[in-house]
C-alpha cells in the first residue's frame, strides 16, 4: 500500500485525469487506458509540489447540490447580464465590493473566487489573505449588503460545510 502510495501520490486526482483523458479521446480501449494512466501518474507527480494540503470532502451530496445551484445561477444571471450589456450603459452601477470571508483556507477561497467569476455579473478581483476578504467587481449592483449576503449564504456557507473548514 505504501509503495502504491509512492507511485500514485494523488489517487483521486489521477483517476480524474484518467477519466478526462478517456472522455477527450472518446474511447475506453486498452491503448488509451494505458496511455491515460501514464499521463495521470506523470502529471500528478510533476505537479505534486503545487498541491498544498487540502481540506477533506466531507459532504459529497451537498457538493452536488451546490454544483446544481451554481449551474442554475449561471443560467439565470446570464439573461440579466445580457439584458444590461445591450441596454443603456450609463445606467450601470459597476463597482468593487469587499466580501468579508469566513473561509481561512486559500484553496477553498480560490474555489469561491472561481464560482463568483463564473456566475455572470460578478468577477473576483483579489483574495486578500491578510484580512480574508474577497474583492469582487460587480457589473450592476443594486444593493451591496444584499449581494454580500447572497454570496456568503449561497456559495460560501455550503462550501465550508462541504470541505469542513
Amino acid at each position: 500500500m505504501t509503495v502504491l502510495r509512492k507511485i500514485v501520490p494523488y489517487p483521486l486526482l489521477s483517476l480524474l485525469i484518467l477519466a478526462l483523458w478517456l472522455a477527450l479521446n472518446n474511447s475506453i480501449g486498452p491503448g488509451q487506458m494505458l496511455l491515460g494512466a501514464v499521463v495521470a501518474v506523470l502529471v500528478t507527480r510533476l505537479t505534486a509540489q503545487f498541491w498544498t494540503d487540502r481540506p477533506k470532502l466531507v459532504r459529497p451530496l451537498l457538493a452536488i447540490r451546490l454544483f446544481l445551484v451554481v449551474i442554475i445561477d449561471i443560467l439565470v444571471a446570464n439573461w440579466k447580464v445580457a439584458y444590461r450589456v445591450v441596454g443603456p450603459l450609463d445606467r450601470l452601477r459597476a463597482d468593487f465590493v469587499d466580501i468579508p470571508l469566513d473561509i481561512r483556507d486559500p484553496f477553498v477561497a480560490t474555489i469561491l473566487g472561481g464560482i463568483v467569476s463564473l456566475t455572470p455579473g460578478t468577477v473576483s478581483v483579489d483574495i486578500d489573505r491578510d484580512r480574508w476578504t474577497l474583492k469582487v467587481h460587480g457589473l450592476d449592483i443594486d444593493d451591496r449588503d444584499e449581494m454580500v449576503r447572497r454570496i456568503k449564504a449561497r456559495y460560501e456557507a455550503p462550501l465550508r460545510e462541504i470541505l469542513s473548514c
Binding site: V86, G114, L118, P120, L139
Partner: protein, 94 residues
Amino acid sequence: MVEFGISLLVLLGAAFALLGSVGLARLPDIFTRLHGPTKATTLGVGALVTASMLHSLSSGGGLSLRELGITLFLFITAPVSAHMIAKAAAKSDK
C-alpha cells in the same frame, strides 16, 4: 423534433457568444469588459456543447463525453484568467 432542439441550442449558444463580444466592445473600462467573456464561456459554450452531445446521440454516434471535458476545462480556466487580468489591472491602478 430533436433537430429543432439542437438548432435552438446552437442559436442560443451563438447568440450568447455574440452578446459576450458585444459586451467586450461596448463596455467602458477593463473591469466591466471582463464581464462579457464570462457569459460567452458559460452559457454560450454550454449551449453549443449540449447541442453537440445531443447531435452525437441522435445521429447514432453514441454518448460523447468529449464535450464534458471541454466544458470542465473552460469552467476551470475562464475564472482563473479573468481573475489574473482583474488582479493585474487593480494592482497597476494604484
